[in-house]
Amino acid sequence: MAEFSDALSVTASGLKAQSRRLRHLSENIANADTPGYRRKTVGFRTAFDATGAPGKVELSRVRLDPSEPKQIYDPAHPLADPSGHYTGSNVNLVIELADAREAQRSYEANLKMFEQTRQMAQSLFDLLRR
């Protein structure tokens, strides 16, 4: 019983972590055209709760991508400097979309684990019921 419920809580932490990752990704995509925006990146790390036992996952602190933002030529832009350029964001949509797809796949994997844990517990009780 305890193993099953540990597995369920670890899987739920994975689901939560992936959905928060997706939240930061959508923030990046939404701000792709914001001048001066730097894309946010998050890492994963193992979390230990108060009881210590199950190795859950959680997001580490949000970091800003240090890469240089794009210089966009648009003399009509209100933020344009004398040369006609302004600082855009350093979001690369291809990277964000690939990352979003990876988050989706990981989420699905966690969902499958959740389902499998439940099925295993169910089969165990079915055995008792005969």
Partner: protein, 96 residues
């Protein structure tokens, strides 16, 4: 005839100490009580989480996890109860 019934009575008296409850050993009652308390705590937790998620305070993942855990707990309790009732009925059906 008389002697054999006397022997049965003596055997019965001799067997009695073996079936007496052992006072210094914790019985199943304590364990069952703990289990029931655990079960009630699981139910209460999922109810609180369900309420919190209705008002948008709790994470839906936590709600799903709590509900799945409650489902497991209820199923375990129901299965054990069915087994116990079945055993009890089996004893009742015993020809005396």
């Amino acid at each position: 005839m008389d002697i054999s019934s006397l022997g049965a009575a003596r055997n019965y008296a001799a067997a009695r100490p073996a079936t007496e409850p052992n006072a210094d050993q914790p019985g199943a009652g304590e364990a069952v009580k703990d289990l029931a308390r655990d079960f009630a705590a699981t139910l209460r937790e999922s109810e609180t989480l369900a309420k919190a998620s209705m008002t948008g305070e709790a994470d839906p993942h936590a709600l799903v996890q709590a509900l799945a855990q409650t489902e497991l707990a209820v199923e375990a309790a129901v299965t054990v109860r069915d087994k116990v009732v079945e055993a009890y009925q089996e004893i009742l059906r015993m020809p005396v």
